[in-house]
């Protein structure tokens, strides 16, 4: 029997009653009820224990999650007192960290508390979340925060506060990068264009002029290629600094009006130009500032610049037009020998249109078969016999007519089309050589001119090897001519290519010798077989050479270096005699023959 029931019976009933059979059923029912009650209670107590354990551990993991969130979380009641808060961070706008202080104005500094205050009022009123951002000074900089207040239950508000300083800074950085050049810190083309457009609006309103100047460094590409990009970058930064310095000392424009358009192109906006001529005052300053020697690492460099200027309204109505025309003027300055400045003119516009026409025409010229090879004979001086032909490229433009190689070769080099054009020249020359042989003419060596671009292109050798193999031509019948300037770039690759050509037993000629930059050291380094004296020296023979002996010296030098010497541009009997007298090996020039198409040159060839 249940202990409690036993005790109760003993206390309240005489013992003999317990034996009464009438009571047995009742007592048993009471006993069962007591026992069941105990069981039920034990079961529920156990359930309460278990579930409170479960809830406690769920709470613990929630707290862990809350504590690991970088946000600060505060729970406010309707009286704007902080009831709970996480203590992950101690933001500097917090006045009091102890649990003792809970009033909004006790916990946060006045300024921040006020912002929370009005947000709290709004959330309690609307029952909708409210977000706001605020900043707080931290030394020299600002810290930024984002607060999100959410209503919970009926009169409480949860405030989540997140430090968004990093995000803010990177947003600012991104915004800055969108409008600036990261290398020099100058405005970029986009910002410059917007400023010019804005300036045009002002100029139009006040009936004023403005000017856009585009500046390009002369020979920057050479520096980049030979000294490496890091040096190039340092140079650009220094130029940017100098331009700013120059503008600061002038009253013509503001420093913020300098921008980098890209590459080595800078641009300046003069937004208040009374007279265009006034701009000229600042140009010498820019020229001389840039021309000042600069020390990059341990190397001293001197660089010049070419500038072009376009003026609103006569040279363009919008930023793009002005920049484009200033650019054209700058190119004109380059063509005029660099290190100078040019204003845009209508004439210049025509020139740049023509250049555009040539550039697009060149792309089609190969497909349309507009190229042709002319051949100029090379004559052995001793025997006066034909010893070779120089292949010269001619382009017949469908609208412009014959275009000079001096005009289209630089364009082809800039646009990269020179590689395919050069390949066409070699294969056409070989084709012609083989054709003549099959027609029964005595084999004669044909020399073709290659650009520096070919020598720097490591795939060129492969092309040449394949061509020689497929055509089966005797390599002795092929010559390659290069200019001094083509040896200046990428020396390692150039040397490799020249070595390969030499190994194929192809004769190498140095063309236009004396006009470039080559030194004796260069000549010795490269495996040159033939030295071709530039026509300018030959033309001067009668006037000057008798006194200076320059041509004679070149011939002697060539011989000392073990090279054959060929004179170009021989036009007179006197020139011929002079060269013969001083031991020149061969000549080419109008005296014997001007360059002729294949059909005509064939008359000079000998039948076997």
């Amino acid at each position: 029997m249940h202990k409690l029931l036993t005790r109760q019976l003993r206390r309240h009933l005489p013992p003999e009653w317990l034996e009464k059979p009438e009571l047995r059923g009742l007592l048993e029912a009471i006993d069962t009820a007591y026992a069941q009650h105990d069981q039920d209670r034990t079961l529920l107590e156990r359930a309460m224990d278990l579930s409170s354990g479960e809830l406690t551990s769920a709470n613990k993991s929630l707290k862990l999650i809350l504590d690991s969130i970088p946000d600060d979380i505060y729970e406010f009641n309707a009286d704007k007192h902080v009831r709970h808060r996480t203590l992950n961070n101690h933001p500097p706008f917090m006045l009091c960290h102890s649990a003792g202080c809970s009033g909004l104005y006790e916990v946060f500094v006045q300024d921040v508390a006020e912002q929370y205050d009005s947000a709290l009022i709004e959330v309690l009123r609307s029952r909708e979340p409210v977000e706001f951002e605020f900043s707080f000074p931290d030394g020299d900089t600002n810290l930024y925060y984002e607060a999100r207040l959410v209503p919970v239950q009926h009169d409480r508000v949860l405030a989540l506060t997140r430090d968004i300083t990093k995000r803010k800074l990177s947003e600012e950085q991104i915004a800055w990068l969108a409008y600036h050049d990261s290398l020099t810190g100058l405005p970029n083309k986009r910002l410059f264009r917007e400023r010019v457009d804005q300036a045009i609006i002002n100029a139009r309103r006040h009936d004023r002029k403005l000017a856009v100047l585009v500046l390009d460094l002369d020979g920057f590409k050479l520096i980049n290629d030979t000294m490496g990009h890091p040096v190039g970058d340092l140079l650009l930064k220094e130029i940017a600094r100098r331009l700013l310095e120059c503008l600061r000392s002038s009253d013509l424009t503001e420093a913020q009006h300098v921008a980098r358009l890209g590459g080595d192109e800078f641009t300046i906006l003069f937004d208040d130009v009374e007279q265009v001529a006034h701009i000229s005052r600042i140009l010498p300053c820019i020229t001389s500032t840039i021309a000042r020697p600069l020390l990059l690492g341990d190397q001293e460099l001197v660089i010049s610049s070419s500038m072009g200027i376009a003026v609103y309204p006569q040279d363009g109505e919008d930023a793009d037009q002005l920049i484009k025309n200033a650019d054209a003027a700058m190119y004109h300055a380059k063509e005029l020998g660099k290190n100078n400045f040019q204003f845009f003119t209508e004439q210049l516009n025509k020139v740049s249109m023509e250049r555009l026409l040539l550039e697009t025409g060149l792309r089609r010229a190969l497909e349309k078969g507009e190229f042709e090879l002319y051949y100029q004979p090379q004559i052995d001086l001793a025997s006066e016999r034909l010893i070779g032909l120089e292949a010269l490229l001619r382009w017949k433009h469908p609208e412009l007519g014959g275009v000079s190689p001096n005009v289209f070769i630089p364009i082809a080099e800039e646009s990269g089309q020179i590689i395919r054009i050069g390949e066409w020249v070699i294969s056409r020359a070989i084709e012609q050589s083989l054709a003549w042989q099959s027609e029964g003419y005595e084999p004669v060596r044909i020399s073709v001119n290659l650009s520096g671009k070919h020598l720097q292109n490591h795939e060129f050798t492969d092309y040449l090897v394949e061509l020689l193999e497929t055509t089966g031509i005797d390599t002795d019948l092929l010559g390659i001519e290069i200019t001094e300037s083509s040896l200046l770039f990428n020396r390692e690759q150039t040397l490799l290519t020249l070595g390969d050509i030499k190994a194929m037993n192809i004769k190498l000629s140095m063309d236009d010798f004396g006009t470039g930059y080559s030194s004796l050291g260069y000549l010795k380094q490269f495996p040159i077989d033939v030295l071709k004296i530039d026509r300018s020296f030959i033309q001067d023979i009668q006037v000057r050479d008798a006194e200076t002996g320059l041509v004679k010296t070149i011939i002697d030098m060539g011989h000392v270096l073990g090279m054959e010497v060929v004179a170009e541009g021989v036009e007179t009997r006197e020139q011929l005699e002079y060269l013969k007298k001083h031991g020149c090996d061969a000549v080419q020039g109008f005296f014997f023959s001007r360059p002729l198409p294949a059909a005509e040159i064939v008359n000079l060839l000998h039948k076997v």
Binding site: T32, A33, T42, A47, L50, S51, L55
Partner: protein, 377 residues
């Protein structure tokens, strides 16, 4: 409506001789499985009431008057004056056929003047939620449905449903009440309290539950039951689940029917949809009794005319397991509301079928007291 009741008890036999009101159209029989399975008593009844429609089922306790009995057979013979009654029966192989079975019953009993459907179903081989969905799917609005799943004490081994003197497992019997003279009120209330954390149903299929919060649900029950785990599945009724369905604001109670140790699974009387949340529930004596009272009030209000003449009380076995000696308190509470003029019958079940309120959708409930009050004008 005229109603007479009789009861058979092993020690006394029939309370009084069978045969009164032998023109009754409908007989409701609720009995211990053993008594029903023997078939003898049903044969006697059949002979006495040869033309009556007889439906009934095995129980976890019979209700008659103010008392709750075990191991008896309770008979209620109903003679309607103006109301037509029609019966239907379907048999199922397994729980997957529940929905189709419900639909078939509704099809057989459908008629323009159908007022109410009363369903007694097998309690173990059926998905009660699906059965109810099938029954109610095509019913016109205004037709109410109530009923229950048959029981087998606290054994959960085999439940039987009677259709005439055919007594079978996997059987569902139903009657339809027709005409404008019958009025039916239904009410259902639980009175259980949720406790502890909300748990996500992470693995379940139909009415079979495997995992809560990624852990074995069966293990969870065993931990909570302690030494009572030995009494599973019956003791599982001490902690029903409160199920929050996305479409319902009011949580539904789900109660356990079976456990499978090999599969580590628990079968419930209705759907346990994966992705929903459940909480354990515990009994609160006063609230259980209040629940019965509330159900009676709802059912009484549901009667649009007159005082109730017959009240069918279907209450969950889980309540009986909890209330034990106090189980009659909930029957008495119903009496207090519906009055002494009514005749009371019913049983302790493995699931209750009723809308929460007269206007709500009919649903399968667990752990509730469900009352169907009838009155004929």
């Amino acid at each position: 409506m005229h109603t007479v009741q009789n009861r058979w008890q092993p020690e006394h036999g029939w309370l009084w001789p069978l045969g009164e009101r032998n023109r009754s159209q409908l007989l409701l029989v609720f009995a211990a499985k053993r008594l029903l399975a023997e078939g003898e008593l049903l044969r006697q009844i059949r002979e006495t009431y040869p033309s009556a429609l007889i439906i009934g089922c095995s129980t976890a306790g019979e209700i008659m008057g103010r008392r709750v009995y075990d191991d008896t057979l309770c008979l209620t013979a109903i003679e309607f004056e103006k109301t037509r009654v029609k019966g239907a029966r379907v048999r199922v192989e397994d729980a997957a056929e529940s929905h189709a079975a419900g639909r078939e019953l509704a099809r057989q009993l459908a008629a323009d003047d159908l007022k109410h459907l009363f369903v007694l179903s097998d309690g173990l081989h059926i998905n009660g939620s699906e059965l109810v969905r099938g029954v109610t799917e095509h019913l016109p609005p205004g037709v109410t449905v109530s009923g229950g799943l048959s029981g087998d004490g606290d054994r959960f081994e085999q439940t039987l449903v009677a259709w005439g003197d055919e007594i079978r497992e996997r059987q569902i019997s139903a009657i339809g009440l027709y005409g404008e003279h019958i009025s039916v009120g239904c009410g259902s209330l639980g009175g259980w309290d949720s406790f502890g954390p909300e748990r996500l149903i992470t693995r379940a299929s139909g009415n079979v539950l495997y995992e809560l919060d990624g852990q074995s649900a069966l293990d969870l029950y065993k931990t909570y039951l302690g030494e009572h785990a030995m009494g599973l599945p019956a003791t599982g009724l001490l902690f029903p689940l409160s199920l929050r369905l996305p479409e319902n604001e009011k949580p539904i109670v789900r109660t356990i029917l079976a456990v499978d140790e090999k599969e580590q699974s628990m079968t419930f009387a209705g759907d346990i949809p994966q992705g929903c949340y459940v909480r354990l529930m515990k009994a609160n004596f006063d609230r259980l009794v209040d629940g019965a009272l509330g159900a009676a009030e709802t059912a009484g209000h549901g009667l649009r005319q007159g005082a109730p003449e017959l009240a069918i009380l279907i209450s969950c076995v889980g309540r009986k397991l909890i209330l034990k000696q106090r189980v009659e308190e909930e029957v008495e509470a119903v009496h207090e509301v519906l009055g002494d003029q009514a005749v009371y019958t019913g049983f302790y079940s493995y699931g209750e079928i009723s809308p929460f309120t007269p206007d709500a959708r009919c649903e399968l409930h667990n752990q509730t007291m469900t009352i169907t009050a009838l009155s004929e004008r």
